[in-house]
């Protein structure tokens, strides 16, 4: 019944097919403009490679780019997962004990404020070269929106339901598990979606410091040094794809797995 209702409410802009077709049209337009500008102003390949050159770079070494993309995706996913689990846990602990919240929450702002590039070398010292420090980078960048959104969700629970749980004699932990956490699912998912995009950014930044493997961040830095701009473009494009895929996975999985708690939002 509700399904039919929402279908009727949907305008053309919300149609699923439109969500696929329109971005493709826009992307094609952007590529045309890109090619047009390059041709019109006669920009050299070193400054702006043509779209075809980027495709060519990709087709020259497909296995290299595939391996790099997978490596970056693994680090971004792991960093995201750590941020998601520890972010929700930390926010829950903070909301359960207000004194701790008063003390710790300002500190969690540090995750947001500290320039990542500045501490990335430190992370290498602490966690080790390669994957560990890269994953740490991804986690640090993406944990703050998880904490902030989870806390906001946990705080905004309905006062009437809160009273109901108090009357029924529910303790703090029970109230958190059966009321606060379920009712903050929508805002937790918002935090996770933001975190998914940020985790990829953090991963690439961590990879700039260096890795014992060849992820996309390393491909970007090495190709920049040798002025292979088309290869840089290809790597950046793939990095964006990783971020988009992670974001999409989190959105879809969240909507499917937590459908019950998203009702009415």
């Amino acid at each position: 019944m509700s399904r039919r209702f929402t279908d009727a409410q949907r305008s053309l802009a919300d149609h699923p097919a439109v969500g696929i077709v329109v971005p493709i049209v826009t992307a094609s337009g952007a590529i045309l403009v890109w090619t047009g500008i390059k041709g019109a102003f006669d920009i050299s390949d070193y400054l702006l490679p043509s779209p075809l050159a980027v495709v060519h770079a990709l087709r020259e070494q497909p296995s290299l780019y595939l391996a790099a993309t997978i490596e970056t995706a693994i680090c971004a996913s792991l960093g995201f997962l750590i941020a998601a689990v520890s972010g929700v846990t930390l926010a829950s602990v903070l909301s359960l004990f207000r004194i701790i919240e008063r003390g710790i929450y300002p500190l969690t702002l540090l995750f947001q404020m500290v320039p990542l590039i500045a501490i990335a070398p430190l992370l290498v010292i602490w966690f080790g070269y390669g994957r560990p420090s890269i994953i740490a980078c991804a986690t640090i960048v993406s944990i703050f929106p998880v904490i902030a959104n989870t806390l906001a969700g946990l705080r905004s629970r309905d006062a009437g339901l809160n009273e109901l749980f108090a009357i029924l004699g529910a303790g703090r932990l029970t109230t958190w598990w059966k009321l606060a956490l379920p009712s903050s699912v929508p805002s937790i998912l918002t935090g996770l979606r933001i975190a998914a995009g940020l985790a990829t950014i953090g991963t690439i930044a961590g990879e700039f410091i260096g890795s014992d493997r060849q992820p996309l961040g390393v491909l970007i830095t090495t190709n920049l040094r040798s002025s292979q701009t088309s290869a840089v473009f290809a790597s950046v494009l793939l990095a964006a794809c990783v971020g988009f895929a992670l974001f999409g996975t989190v959105s879809v999985l969240g909507r499917v797995l937590f459908a019950r708690w998203l009702r009415g939002t």
Binding site: M1, S2, S95, R98, L154, R155, D158, A159, G160, L161, N162, E163, L164, F165, A166, I167, L168, G169, A170, R172, T174, T175, K178, L179, P182, S183, V185, R260, W261, R263, G264
Partner: protein
């Protein structure tokens, strides 16, 4: 107050000389009240939120198995009296579970004593809103009190279904709150209040937001249930006809700070949809509204 009492008796007289068809054999509700031990006893209860006096010197005995309605102008403090009976004001003061909520203004505090002899048993509470968890099915919502008491899943299921049957909502057990009408939501909320078989049921204007037809339907369902189960029920409402229909006794409260201005017995006997138009019910409603209007007028002249 004395005057109001005599008015209440005059209602009973009217009913005797003018007997309604269905209920002549029923014992007089007023005499029945005096025979039963009190389930709730308020003695000189006053309550203030900060500097605002909300309840003034209310003494009230509510016998076990009776149905009492508190009626008064909106904002008069009748809900506060109900919350005092349920121990919620105390609860609200001690609870710091609501982060960032404004401090509950209970600093004024209570004087007098509010004794509810159901502290060992459970108390059922129905609010102005259904307060259902949107992510739980009706059955899971109704089972919530049992779940929090640590009952097993099988017991929870069986008793929640039974409570739903009592509110004629068993068909909707698997549905979710957003799939229910306002009336069905309220039925679910009352089923939840009844699921732990409380001896005392506290109802805070539970049908206030419903349309009139649905409201009458639920009034009848609740009254019929009470007639067969005889739990102690206390209802807060601003609708005098509803109070007369549901309760055995109407306690009329003055504007804030709430004080009792009249206690009026309603016609005894079972109710049906035709009770609404019965003369004795109408006379009872008139008496209660006269008392209420007089109290409002008196406050205004002061």
């Amino acid at each position: 107050m004395r005057e109001a009492h005599s008015r209440g008796e005059s209602i009973n007289r009217t009913r005797r000389t003018n007997p309604p068809k269905p209920a002549t054999h029923m014992p007089d509700s007023a005499s029945k009240i005096s025979q039963l031990p009190p389930a709730i006893r308020l003695q000189h209860v006053s309550h203030a939120f900060g500097a605002v006096e909300v309840v003034r010197d209310v003494s009230l005995e509510i016998p076990a198995g009776s149905f009492t309605a508190l009626v008064g102008p909106s904002g008069c403090g009748k809900t506060t009296i109900l919350r005092l009976i349920g121990g919620l004001e105390r609860l609200a003061r001690n609870s710091d579970d609501t982060p960032d909520a404004p401090d509950t203004p209970t600093r004024g505090g209570t004087t007098g004593s509010a004794l509810t002899h159901a502290s060992d048993a459970t108390m059922g509470f129905a609010f102005q809103e259904p307060r259902l968890l949107p992510w739980r099915s009706v059955l899971e919502n109704v089972a919530l009190p049992l779940e929090l008491q640590g009952e097993s899943l099988a017991v929870r299921r069986a008793r929640a279904l039974e409570a739903l049957e009592r509110m004629q909502l068993a068909d909707a057990a698997g549905r979710f709150p957003h799939q229910l009408s306002g009336g069905m939501k309220m039925r679910a909320a009352i089923a939840r209040a009844l699921v732990s078989r409380p001896r005392v049921l506290l109802l805070d204007e539970p049908f206030g937001a419903l349309d009139e037809v649905t409201r009458h339907e639920l009034d009848l369902a609740l009254r019929t249930l009470w007639e067969s189960e005889r739990f102690t029920a206390v209802l807060v409402t601003h609708s005098i006809p509803e109070a007369a229909f549901l309760a055995e006794r109407i306690v009329v409260l003055s504007p804030r700070p709430a004080a009792i201005v009249a206690e009026i017995a309603t016609p005894s006997g079972p109710r049906d949809l035709h009770t609404w138009t019965r003369d004795d019910l109408g006379a009872c409603v008139r008496t209660a509204s006269d008392a209420l209007l007089a109290a409002i007028a008196e406050r205004r002249t002061r």
